[in-house]
Amino acid sequence: MAVFSGYYKPLSNKAKRILGIVIQVRNVIEIRFHGMGGQGAVMGALILAEAAFSEGKFAQKIPVYGGMRRGGDVTVFLRLDDKPIRRTSGIYEPDALVVLDPALVGNPAVKKGLKEGGIAVLNEERAPSDVDFGVVLGKTATVAATGVSAQLFGVRAIPITNTTMLGAIAKVTDWIELGSLFEPIRHAFPGRIGELNVEACKKGYEIVKES
């Protein structure tokens, strides 16, 4: 039984999929998630990884934080590939960025190393054309995920933006199909809150703007 699962989600919902090895030329996509506080970025990356795995891809997720204390900024490295991923070093020159909090968009540390021609998916109210990363990107996408959180989950100290971002990703990249995300989201959030997150995901798919 091959599974892709973290301890972040209830064990009873563990995915049970068979590992199918497909040897191909290395075609890895290296993505960096940036979030604030809590488990948002980690869960977002995990869901994306699970979804990719369910589509037959290989995935690897490395969270990077200090102590285990909650709060503060969180970085997660995510790799997607057609064959098993072996390298374990951090991602310093990502092919793509996912930024879950608008406050981080302007932070120079966030965009550090982003490759020219890469992709940026941002939680932003502004249009993509209004965001200047100082890097020539292949694609910039913005989605007002904090707004979606307020709509769906009410006003919260730490808004829930990751699932909306994932929907946006499904739309603007070829990493994942929208439909593949729902099952992992439901695994991660059982019950009603899962359905709300699926909705957020769909919403992200709908409202994302890309340039």
């Binding site: 900024d73 406050a103 932070n107 966030v110 006003v155 100290a157």
Partner: protein
């Protein structure tokens, strides 16, 4: 790269304020002050938007506003 990120920020309605300084006393970060017993000010450089000041204010003078 740690930085303060707030979803909400405290704002005061001086009409309602009675200068009791409870907000100043209880703010975990020390980022609210009652200046000269007349004005309540916040240090938004460091305020974490936790809302403690708003909860502790006996007159409801402090409200929490969504950050842009």
């Amino acid at each position: 790269m740690s930085q303060i990120v707030r979803s909400f920020r405290p704002v005061v309605d001086m009409e309602k304020c009675n200068k009791c300084t409870l907000c100043q006393i209880y703010c975990p970060e020390g980022t609210v002050m009652v200046v000269n017993k007349e004005k309540v000010v916040f240090d938004y450089r460091f305020c974490k938007g936790c809302g403690v000041c708003a909860t502790e204010c006996p007159t409801g003078a402090i409200g929490m506003e969504r950050e842009a």
